[in-house]
Symmetry: C2
Subunit: 460 residues, 2 copies
């Protein structure tokens, strides 16, 4: 029972049962009706930490959803790892596209299907179970702290305020995060860059009420048509973003860095087939991997206005709205970008409508060097589990709180994620491969030992 | 009791009670959950016709919602008026903007507030009550038929099929319609032109599922952004519509006709104030009245896609859709326009997305000459009630079935509407001024007598 493989074999069924109980709590942070579910999920995780071997663990109130904090301090002289994860999940709509109920996990094709299976309940649970193994078998080589929040999918507003007040309690040598993906099970990878995010909501108002499109159409600016024009104008024909100043702070990668990134395996046909598109749409002059990894982007995340029900209604809507977010790359400041966006949007709107632009959550981009002890330990851990040295990659996604950690706590993060790009995170039928779950647990236990042990000996 | 004014005074309270009972039936034709309400409304109107004095009346099945037919034949040698109206109403959303429940009529500020108050239950009921007065006081000067349908707000698909099968039963000299508006209570007007309509629904599909906007954004065409670009491109900077061939069949009005139209009173400041806009947005080269009366237009009636709930979701949506309708002017063919639209939309869409365009209901434009006996009788009737000669106007709205009447039954229509442009037809807080309701009843009774009587003597 003292090797991780045999421990996993003996405890698999229980691990899944426990994870499933967590997944069944519909902890959607952005929907106020789930406030109590957030509390239930936080309490469940606290219990899990205590059962796994934490000295203490508790639910900490914040200005928003609570943070779960737990720790096991074995020896103050040893290094301390602070594990970060989130127990909140994305909304589930369009719920009619789910093949099974989002909060009733099922196993099919070797995958767990459920909202939160991979993002991030499954990955958070890998951390808890790796910790459990090390504690129960007397092999924990360092101190461990857990900080598990409930607002990551909203941009972590409460955690950002909670951090400075709890700086001492959170003191650590490294933050360990499992909330990203690998290229493939046979091509493990470590995320060394994350894009930032500026998330906006815009509302275009025309008349003070919905009008009859026959009686007024032709003389009154239609907010839905105007919104469409405004959105359309945000990209030019080369798919560059047209907001003045948008690219000003973007650090262009060197030819060498671009060549490095191009070494990650990529199969265009497979990429297109997986998401059923006939061709990609990229910014001119950049590859697909560059467009999703090192280039900023602008996407409509949602748009609505007027009559959207069954049949037809000849209405000239009073309002039309959109949620629009921009992914940012190193050196771009989300608040500055949000301001540029708002100013531009208000400037280009015709005088026949009123415009309201609201900045929703944002986050700074993050780059993690591959020269650190943490990276080398992580690399060796993946290699031990997967038998292949992992590839460093830049991810297009954002985990805004990572930059805040560095700024507020002065601690670097290492991103050891075990998702795959077929996991449908944020989408209907989100899933997590069981093999990823088990290999993730294993890799994390190796990481603890390499990071806390004698690195020189163990990982040369 | 034999003058219309005294009859109205004696029966006002009952008229309103009866109308309110009809309004309380939520007969929304386009929403399938209201199928039974459609039947209930049809049955209620049938009863109303019989009580008002019809020899016979019944609910006639069609391929869709039923038609109510009723008649009173006094003397086959006399003229026959066929009254047309509709008992179906528009959907009520956004329901949160209603100050009172849409299907619970209330009287405030001298107006009836409810869905259907003016469009068209209130106006249909004016016809029933004018008929009742003429019958009950022994003054009905002609034969009367009623044809009241339940699909006008959907484009009358079933009625169009029902007409040819019932041509003989519907034989008449004129169709009398109360489903339009006047300029104002002190500026009565008669609608002599209606725009046609082509109503489309478009769907843009990118990937086969919603994607994580961080992992895919920048490389995968976003259907919401693409839809916005497509919609934006449908107008040029002069607000002309860019669909090739769109204007080919438009009959340009002569300078004289334009001057005639410009004579209708119009106050720009009042127009802007009423709907709270700072300035109109018109096609270059045309006045507001021309843009809503004699020029074709294109409006988004509804748009939706992606995440539209509370908070933020960083999703690249799989689909985005819009309902788009075009108002057409004399000589434009709605099916030809629908085809031009569909072909254009498919042609301009980028290859990175899939496009589906569906033609919803349409209707031909209509122009009614002012030289007919019916127009002269209507003009005299308004003048008798309001003390002012009515102005002929072109309305921007569409009643597609009017053209079908002429084509299928060979009968012309006269549009005697008593709405006002403050009625919020199709919008929240739809209302109908009580004074319009009463004056409408009175005017209709005068119309019967002028039209059926000795016009030469009565109206010079």
């Amino acid at each position: 029972m003292d090797t991780i493989k045999s421990y996993l074999e003996a405890n698999k069924a229980r691990f899944l049962q426990e994870l499933f109980d967590l997944i069944r709590i519909p902890s959607i942070s952005s929907e106020s009706e789930h406030k109590n579910d957030m509390k239930l999920a936080a309490e469940y995780i606290t219990e899990s930490l205590l059962k796994a071997g934490a000295d203490k663990a508790g639910v900490y109130p914040t200005t928003g959803h609570p943070v779960v904090y737990g720790e096991k301090i074995t020896d103050p002289a040893k290094p301390t790892i602070l594990v970060y994860g989130h127990y909140d999940v994305m909304p589930v709509d369009p719920v009619e596209l789910w093949k099974t109920p989002p909060f009733e996990p099922v196993i099919a094709d070797g995958k767990i299907f459920a909202r939160g299976a991979v993002d991030d309940k499954g990955q958070l649970f890998m951390q808890v179970k790796a910790f459990e193994y090390l504690v129960k078998t007397g092999q924990l080589p360092c101190n461990v702290k857990f900080m598990l929040e409930g607002e990551e999918e909203m941009g972590s507003p409460a955690l950002a305020k909670w951090l400075p007040e709890n700086k001492e309690m959170l003191a650590a040598d490294l933050i360990l995060v499992s909330d990203t993906s690998m290229i493939a099970l046979d091509i493990p990878s470590i995320t060394v860059g994350l894009r930032g995010l500026a998330y906006m909501e815009v509302e275009v108002t025309g008349p003070d009420k919905d009008l009859h499109s026959g009686l007024y159409g032709g003389a009154v600016a239609n907010p839905a048509n105007v919104l469409a024009s405004l959105i359309a104008s945000l990209h030019d024909e080369n798919h560059h973003i047209t907001i003045p100043g948008f690219y000003d702070d973007v650090t262009e990668l060197s030819a060498e860095d671009r060549n490095d990134l191009a070494r990650a395996p990529f199969n265009l046909e497979e990429y297109k087939r997986k998401i059923d598109i006939s061709e990609p749409l990229c910014e001119k002059g950049y590859t697909i991997q560059e467009c999703t990894g090192i280039r900023p982007t602008l996407d409509v995340n949602g748009i609505w206005g007027g009559y959207t029900g069954e049949g037809s209604k000849t209405v000239l809507p009073a309002k039309a709205s959109a949620k629009i977010s921009m992914r940012l790359v190193p050196n771009q400041d989300p608040h500055k970008i949000a301001q540029l966006f708002a100013r531009h949007f208000e400037r280009i709107a015709p005088p026949s409508v009123k415009i309201r632009v609201k900045e929703d959550h944002g986050g700074f981009p993050y780059v993690s060097p591959t020269s650190t002890r943490a990276y080398r330990a992580a690399s060796k851990a993946y290699e031990t589990t997967f038998g292949v040295k992992p590839v460093p990659v830049r991810s297009g996604g954002s985990i805004p709180i990572i930059t805040t950690f560095e700024k507020t706590l002065g601690i670097k993060s290492i991103l050891m994620g075990f998702g795959l790009d077929t996991d449908a995170a944020h989408s209907p039928n989100e899933n997590f491969q069981l093999e990823c779950f088990y290999k993730g647990i294993e890799t994390i236990t190796w990481f603890y030992r390499y990071f806390a042990g004698d690195l020189k000996q163990e990982i040369e």
